[in-house]
């Protein structure tokens, strides 16, 4: 927002993103940049994304949009009109950074190539699904398809389910984070040299770069004891075989004997639940694969007898990184988030709602959340900013 005390105060950004990039614009806006988001005269189509605030008509208060389009100034414009295209061009003139996705609203009218010729210091982050060229460059890829082609879905799910996408927009939140990095990396370079540039981001490559074991098991399978190059989906069982969600009394819990197998073994001995794990063969590093498999079997049996909440806190008190599988309502009540005063108030058309806070905390330039506006809510101030005569 314009009166920001955030880390990016004074940075002007034009947000021409769609679902693929909107999280990146959010990250930058929430850090204090002044981010203007143009939208069609009848409103951003993403305002139709659910969930909606109960009691409001579809398209007015989308909670999806309020989250992803936080801290924006909204500007309704018709890019097909002479007036609208000129307004977009003036917004580009004022921007330090333009975030664009191919085919997204306003990109063609903004004439970004010409703007970069006029203003060499301008940064344009240009996001595509698969890159500008190549046989898939024109492919349509909403989050599910992007996750399928990018490698997310093949790892997720179980033998008796289809491959699964993550809940919500997990793939586009990866590309969004990379877009923010691209913009800020280029901005650092501008601060040193006054030279801007075009930066291209492929959503497909972003997703593929964040798959933990997928390429590792392919490239280095001969260095790993337990994996195969095409490791398939297999529920919660980690590629190392050393982490899995297990059923306890009253709920599920992610259980692992890492990082210290001896600590876990001692605990099982104290509980008299160790079965045959003291057998010498399990102490031999040569038998690591068999040992991990047997430990997990014993743990699964033992965990099934334990009450989930008690087990979780006892594990953590022993520095074992167990994780209680919490549903969303338990996350909302989490004592750690409460103690850190993490939740913030979202102001949407005069209605206040609690919602997620910052993913990081800056000691000197605090993250903050401004009110969320309706379609074109900031037209007047934006027209004034670009010196538009005839501003209402």
């Amino acid at each position: 927002m314009t009166d920001s005390k955030g880390a990016l105060a004074g940075v002007h950004i034009l947000d021409l993103t769609d679902e693929r990039g909107i999280y990146g614009a959010k990250l930058l806006a929430d850090l204090g940049a002044d981010v203007v988001r143009p939208e069609p005269l009848d409103g951003d189509p993403l305002r139709k994304r659910g969930p909606h605030q109960a009691g409001t008509p579809e398209g007015t208060t989308s909670l999806w949009h309020a989250f992803f389009a936080s801290n924006r100034r909204f500007f309704a414009v018709d890019p097909s009109s002479d007036e609208g295209s000129e307004q977009l061009r003036r917004l580009v003139e004022r921007a330090d950074i333009v975030l664009a996705c191919d085919r997204s609203f306003g990109v063609d009218a903004a004439d970004l190539n010409a703007a970069q010729t006029r203003r060499p210091e301008l940064i344009v982050v240009d996001t595509t699904s698969f890159g500008r060229d190549g046989p898939w460059s024109e492919y349509l890829a909403p989050d599910l398809v992007a996750g399928a082609l990018g490698g997310f879905c093949a790892t997720t799910g179980d033998v008796d389910t289809p491959p699964l996408k993550g809940f919500g927009e997990l793939n586009f939140m990866v590309s969004g984070a990379y877009i923010a990095i691209a913009a800020l990396g280029a901005l650092y370079h501008v601060r040193q040299t006054k030279v801007g540039q075009r930066v291209e981001v492929s959503v497909h490559e972003c997703i593929a770069s964040c798959l933990e074991q997928v390429f590792m098991c392919y490239w280095y399978d001969d260095l790993l004891p337990t994996t195969i190059p095409g490791l398939p989906r297999r529920g919660s069982l980690h590629w190392s075989n050393g982490y899995a969600v297990m059923q306890a009394q009253g709920g599920a819990i992610m259980v692992t004997p890492t990082p210290d197998l001896e600590t876990q073994l001692l605990w099982l001995v104290q509980e008299d639940a160790h079965e045959d794990l003291l057998d010498e063969k399990y102490a031999d590093p040569e038998n690591l694969v068999e040992t991990v498999q047997r430990v997990m079997e014993v743990l699964r049996k033992w965990v099934s007898t334990r009450e989930v909440e008690e087990l979780f806190f006892e594990a953590q008190s022993r520095h074992s990184p167990y994780g209680w599988v919490l549903p969303i309502e338990k996350v909302a009540e989490n004592p750690q988030l409460k103690a850190r005063d993490w939740w913030v108030s979202y102001s949407m058309g005069g209605v206040e709602t609690t919602g997620p806070g910052a993913p990081y905390r800056f000691s000197e330039t605090p993250w903050s959340l401004g009110p969320y506006g309706g379609p074109g809510a900031d037209g007047e101030s934006i027209l004034a900013d670009i010196g538009w005569e005839g501003a209402p």
Partner: protein
Amino acid sequence: MTRPLEGIRILDFTHVLAGPFATRVLGDMGADVIKVNSVDRAIGANDPGHPYYLMWNRNKRALALDMSKQESRPVCRQLCEKADVVIDNFSVGVLERWGIGYDAVRVANPEVIYVQMSGMGEGGPWSDFVTYAPTIHALSGLTHLTGVPGREDIGIGFSYNDHQAGLHGAVAILAALEARQRTGRGQRVDLSQFEVGVNFAGPALLDYFANARAARPMGNKLPYDEVAPHGCYPCAGALSDAVEDERWVAIACMTDCQWEALKVLMARPEWAMDSVFDTASSRVENLQRLDQGVAEWTVTQDSTEVMEKCQKAGVPAGIVQNAIDLVERDPQLKRSGFLHAIDSPHPTVGATYADRLPIRFQATPCDVYARSREIGEDNTAILQDWLEMSADEIQKAEESGILT
């Protein structure tokens, strides 16, 4: 041509995945990242020969410093005083115990940026909890929400939150550098990997607080929007009955027009012409029948052919690609050279590999991919570059046993 972050000095105490991924991205962009490790700590994922280490520690220089020795700490303090960024993902308080916490170092280096990527953040009843990505997934709701109705034991099949915590750490560092440009001062960033993870359920959490609706796992359905078909469907061509040999295609008809196009591709089967499938909301109401019908078509088809036909007709579709598909067949990744062998062989492992930074800076391309380094492989160069130590001084430090 230089890379965009040339000149930035980062002292990197991170380990495992989240922290090293943050500094990998910044190293790819040209920052001088000094990875601090020691022989004593080089076990498991901290062992330079471990595949995990090879994956996340390219484009960094390696300094061996045994922080368990008091004698190491003055050298480390000097390095902190020369750094633009000091980053760690230890539990809260480790750097302070070593005498190199933010408050100690900023006196001599007020421009320094400290980023602490702990599991739970500083303060609060869970601040000492030990976490890995599967722990964070469980506690943040990601495991519960990623599955099918009635199952809370699936979750994401890889350490998504580790990567994302790393990316958010990189965002935080770059934002703090911009703030420093304006104010002349550094600052401290407290990044809780747990809070990064909870953030990903943002709309669902707003829905809970605003409407008292608690989200549940939905398989491949969109949780809030009426879109169908929207799923992964089996295809022909499996090499065996094993799960890893199955072939699937994802199809997502985001509009009625796309559904109409899909019907044409399926040769307008009788079931699909039923009026109950005419609107998105009625397709969602009759999802089981719809998905069954689509699957009866796809299961007779090759996955690549389904994808190509669908995309040609304007229907979003894509193969469910596994590692072999991505490395050996993906034409886009091949075209961009996304996956490649690193030129210089690793001294103990031999050939190592890299996936490129998925950001293409046109004026400052990031095309350098240096292999990960052995412990202390760059001791001399780092101590000369950062601390201007003479050869004699470095020799003495080595003899004292701190550079191990």
